[in-house]
Symmetry: C2
Subunit: 176 residues, 2 copies
Amino acid sequence: MTSDTTSQSNDPASGIRDGEVAVALPDHFDAQLYFIGRIRTPWKTRSECPKNARQARESGTVCTIEVDPRWQQALPGVETCSHLIVLYWMDRARRDLVVQVPAQYGSGKPTFSLRSPVRPNPIALSVVELRKVEGSTLHVVGLDCLDGTPLVDIKPYFSSTDSIADARVGWHADRR
Amino acid sequence: MTSDTTSQSNDPASGIRDGEVAVALPDHFDAQLYFIGRIRTPWKTRSECPKNARQARESGTVCTIEVDPRWQQALPGVETCSHLIVLYWMDRARRDLVVQVPAQYGSGKPTFSLRSPVRPNPIALSVVELRKVEGSTLHVVGLDCLDGTPLVDIKPYFSSTDSIADARVGWHADRR
């Protein structure tokens, strides 16, 4: 990493927090996405959103995923799933921070060690419980995003390969 | 779904299998991705790849994820994770099939009920076991993709929210 690609937070104009590190973004994009629907939640501002997926799930709040009618024929069979993986686009997140200071930790954390929406490709992932499918609308529990968030993908959750009960995030488990 | 947006497989020029259904793609993209690295695997052709994530994991084959040096400062802390979620781009997959006929099932399956790379946004997701980090290279077990596949994201796997041991994909469990 050469210094000319790195912007430290001592530049107040950059709008980043003390301890955060931004890099120059690549000069071109490599692939493109379609938004395939919208997520509807009760939360209109970031401060209203659950702090994380655990809080979202424990709250039991039912959110809806509205899939664009174009893709409706891709949905049958989804209703037989107890859980889904939902990918969505955090369109308000900046993409150039390699170290960030999440409010709940208060110190610099490298981006790929976090689930924060701030990352080079701001694709968020939630494992949700499917409650009901009505036409092209899914009712789910476990989302923590803003109302109107763009939908990128829906995948069946297979416990055989997606469930790792004893997985460990060391820095997080040891943080106190 | 109006008929003018649907192409059935009785058009041999479309290159889709009997039973597959394609829709007209949207006339614009909505968001853009950076490729942030490459995945290195022993598999140079599709026929060499493991058939699915389970087979990949059980084979124990160690693959490597080469993160672009631009993002290296985003990696510390990742080495404390036992497992990661890896997102990657299946750049050879078509995006317009809402019903597809995977070789292993032999009949039409709606796209969002599958983990197939063929989907509107061909982002694949694997939960991998992290064996070692060397600089900006991660050694992992659990990938089943072609050598050279573009990397989109790396996330820590949190068992508290990502592990659902009793999740069920009904159509898959009941298929025999």
